[in-house]
Amino acid sequence: MYKMYGGYMAAKVSKLDEQFKLDAPREKHKEGACSSIFSGVAIYVNGYTEPSADELRRLMMLHGGQFHVYYSRSKTTHIIANNLPNSKIQELKGEKVIRPEWITDSIKAGRLLPYLQYMLYAKQKGLLFPGMTLRQTSEIAGPSHRPLQLNARQKLHLPQRSIQASVLNHEQSSSGCQNNSFPHSPPKQSDQSPDLEEQSSSLGAEQRPKPPPPNYHEAAKASESHLLPKQPQTPNQLDKISNKTHPSPASLSLSYSSVRLNGSHHNAFSSDAASLSTTNTAATPDPPTGGLISEFYSHSRLHQISTWRTGFSEYVNELHSKRKVAGGACFAGKDRLRKLVAQRHVDSQGTSAAINVKSCILHVDMDCFFVSVGIRHRPELKGKPVAVTSNRGQARVPVRPGANPQVEMQYYQRKYTNPQPGEIVMSDHFVIENSDSDRQYETASLSMAEIASCSYEARQAGVRNGMFFGKAKQLCPMLQSVPYDFEAYKEVALNMYEILAGYTHDIEALSCDEVLIDGSTLLAEVGVNPDDLAKAIRADIREKTGCCASVGMGSNILLARLATRKAKPNGQHFLKSEEVDDFIRDLPVTSLPGVGPVMGRKLAAMGVRSCGDLQQVSLSQLQKKFGPRTGQTLFRFCRGLDDRPVRYEKERKSVSAEMNYNIRFTKVDEAECFLTNLSMEVQKRLQEAGLRGRRVTLKVMVRKVGAPVEPAKYGGHGICDNLARTVMLAQSTDSGQLIATAVIKLLHAMKLQVQDLRGVGIQVQLLEGNQSVRQDSGGGGDVKEIRQIGRGEEKTSSTTVPSASSLPHPLSPAEPVPGTSKEQPAFRQTPKHSRSRLNLSIEVPSPSQVDRSVLEALPAELREQVEQSWTKRDGKQNNCRSPGTLLLQIPNQPDSPGIVLELPNFSQPKNPLLQLKQPGVGLGRVKRRYKRKNAISPVKKGASPLKKRQMTNSPAKTLAPAVKAREPINVLKTETDPSTSSSHPDIPESVTKLIARPAPALAGACDLTDIKTLLREWVTTITEPMEEDILQVVKYCTDLIEDKDLERLDLIIKYMKRIMQQSVESVWSMAFDFILDNVQVVVQQAYGSTLKIA
């Protein structure tokens, strides 16, 4: 099965190998300790292991082995696994499946131990014993044979260093290659660490049949502490060590703050960026938690690039705070500009006068950044069509089994031609005629590696960014591909930012190669015109980075960006205000920022193609179509209006982590585990940003019904439905655990087949600053400023200390740093506290009687919810509505009855809501309730003896005279009614009315004072509200809305708010939040607005 992956996989595997080879020397350089115990050994890690696959990979790097991400029967020598499902055992019959301890123990022993004792399955061992012994002998024959078994490639590319080199030589990476031919022998290796030698010798001597459980961490720590003094302690190194003992998130923020201490902001940034880039190894979290996801993110370097923006924003923020402190910074570029101007003044007096630029925004954009960085040292590629892509050369790959690229192509084509993809009946299109197989192969076999960036020459040939390489190659056979070079990107980007910071600090980082500059003050100050400034900037960038940048200028951000389009490539353009109208009229709408393909299609459907067309559309029409805000933006943009300021400080609205690559779960546990890991990733990001969020959204991509099981792109998600569920937490959090519990519940509520999951994302919104961190650093800043003015500079460093120490200390995680002793307990307590509340909020829906998926969706943010298509999905249930289900219908379909909430009655036996009303309830009401009681959930009725008692009691109670204060209106009605003739002669007339159209009632009570009493009883006597009771209240509120009695709803909500939020039990305020959220959803649907809650 594996072999059938064919060419694509071969390419991928060799690529991964290459990456491994590239990483190996770096890793060794960092670690300092290495050997070649495992030379010739190529492992493949199957499933979860202890230590993690990531760790094993690192160990293999260090000790001369190979690590295969994909199993290859011919090349992989050992499979490492902690446990395997039965099916896999069958499949791997005859292969060596070995426990990971083999590796760690071998390292400890300093030589390759026989793997026989470490075989995962004794059965397997027994079966294959004869064959094994043979192999085993060769295995334990000793390292001296190793070099012979190395194939040529390994020799060339896997530098193996002698121990002497590792200890003494700090520039191993170069020397390592030369040492290839050194004979490796165990004794030498153990030289490097006496501790290790002791362990290994004892182990080796005893030759226990089963080695003790490996104390890997100890060993690692020992070796590290041993090596530390010999190594320069770079921040990376620190990170690494702290990571061994620490959950990773802390380390990044730590390195950041610790560097901040020395006051050099440039350093602060670069080291931060460095730590970002080294997450490969540095941010490897504890094996049980992180593994997969962290690995994904650390290996997905494109992801890293996208995170750089935050880094650069941070850099700009730093500059600003620095300037505040220092009062003024040196602007190298600015000074140069000044000189230039002065020069010109001398040359010709008065020419540069009369520059009257009110506001000028510069948009600096590097010209096809990835390409120009990629070829800056390869002049031979200049002027040729070049694309940056992960694919190297081949444009065709064979099709994998299970994949059906044809279908996907069709789907995407449909999607783009048909504005409403939702209407496509997928199953129709998945019938494939195999007769057409030739052509099918044509398209299917093209490489699906995406082009990240391509040069202008390639663009002329029709190649576009994001295009699949295979297709691009068809369009432009001359197309050359250049690999990613992430280090270089970072270097160039950083360079560019430095250059720009030399001019002004009014910078907004858009991405690693795109910057907005508010040049207004700079221009006024220096007295230079925008064109000269742009020229200077471009010359600077060109000189220092070797890459070209284009600069667009305009009076606002929009115009600057549009001008850049005209400036490209390698040019500059100033869009003067008098030219704007003519310029913008002919632009296609899709050139406006924010108008992507989707909106472009929508606009095209309206007959709008150019901005001129768009100008003809009225504001109200746009707002109707695209919503108030987007409509307004479009309205303004197409007229060249844009009042967004250049923001050097960006506030994050949400923190999220998503993965839609290689998501294939087989069991629910796996999905849960994955969600937990992803939550940890979110936690990491939240903590990095110093934020906490309250609203957690789980987004999933689910294979569309009828879509092929395997998508065309390897590991890709294929054709999917996108679903999302949201939950509000009791309080904002940055705890991955809490987030994980929440999202796992959401996932369960969605009732999906985990096998069909293709992408998972967690988003946290409603962010607020992490108070413990924020306040502290903010306070520190203030103090800093004050002292700065008061006393002078020597105080700066001391005042920044509190902010730094508020973060967990790297080297002693167990004991809090004295300064933080107050904060830490609080910090620990919060998650615990909120956890208990959280459980409640999510468990609110009754698992037995309520359709959870619907209910979970209820508290979601209104808009998001309306967007969801779950009504469609749940549509079938409309017909077979049972009393126990809760249904909320968004009135999309004209014939839908609106909001229907049907809920079970209270189930809690001694609930005041039930009991309170009993003496006073009228006959009809009791009857009604009785009927309902009988109707629903007979199982439950039987289960609860108390309820049974109630059942038998209640009829008796109806005999009691209904003495109850009625509303005045009721009294009036009975008075004014002369006749008792009715359809139900034996029942009092007021009851008939109720039957005709029942007034909203809560547990039988419909009078306001009664309901208030009821609610008060409920809140005061019960410590934890039953979910069904909460739902009952929600239902009552919904009834009120339906009955158009908002006044009462308002009163009741206000009353509940008062009593529930006053309650000592925090669960009550949670319950109130839940009720309110639900009510607001319904109000929103009925009235288009939400209740104002004072």
Partner: protein, 215 residues
């Protein structure tokens, strides 16, 4: 269930229009759409109310309600909305009178004469009084309006009532026009329920929709 007779509907319309007139005046006073100088204190439903003594304004309100009346008579008016708009004619506040049929029109009114029962009328009056009182204190729950506001009256009709409206002009040169999107659409409205009443002849609730950002 029996439907209200035409006669009864016309009476309901009378009662409601009378009430709406009082309510509109009061809203304009309370929300300071016009200077308080043009208002006089009067007594209605046994409570003090404010009425404008500006003849043109009064005429406008009267004419408007005169045109609303036939709609209510036919049970075609779903909502009567007093919209307060800012200088740019964007609504900042909407006082929505949502009118619906009484829910429980069962056996009780076998005789149409019954509706003239004084007890019933005084009861309705009580309920309307409560509305008036609510309106006069509604400024407590609303944010202040920006200066220079104006007002307009919108009617949300049921179904195809608009077609008939175009045919029949109740008052010459005082036609209904279809409201602009701009006049109807409000950014981020917040809903403040004021009063709900359910009588045997009419069910009505009043709520305010307020723009979150008024300035």
């Amino acid at each position: 269930c029996r439907r209200l007779t035409e006669q009864e509907y016309s009476m309901v319309a009378d009662i409601l229009c009378e009430f709406l007139e009082v309510a509109i005046h009061l809203i304009l006073y309370v929300r300071e759409v016009y200077p308080s100088g043009i208002f006089q204190k009067r007594k209605k439903y046994n409570v003090p109310v404010q009425m404008s003594c500006h003849p043109e304004l009064n005429q406008y309100i009267q004419d408007t309600l005169h045109c609303v009346k036939p709609l209510i008579e036919k049970n075609d008016a779903e909502k009567v909305v007093v919209v307060i708009m800012d200088k740019e004619h964007h609504p900042v506040e909407r006082f929505v009178f949502e009118i619906s049929q009484p829910p429980l029109l069962s056996i009780r009114f076998s005789s149409p004469l019954l509706i003239r029962n004084d007890t019933l009328l005084s009861h309705v009056e009580q309920l309307l009084r409560a509305f008036i009182l609510k309106i006069s204190v509604c400024d407590a729950v609303l944010n202040n309006n920006p200066p220079g506001c104006s007002f307009t009256v919108l009617v949300h009709t049921r179904d195809a009532a608009t077609r008939n409206m175009e045919k029949v002009q109740v008052i010459k040169d005082f036609p209904w026009i279809v409201a602009d999107e701009q006049e109807v659409h409000m950014q981020e409205p917040r809903l403040i329920p004021l009063k709900t009443m359910t009588s045997d002849i009419v069910k009505m609730q009043l709520y305010v929709e307020e723009r979150t950002q008024k300035t």
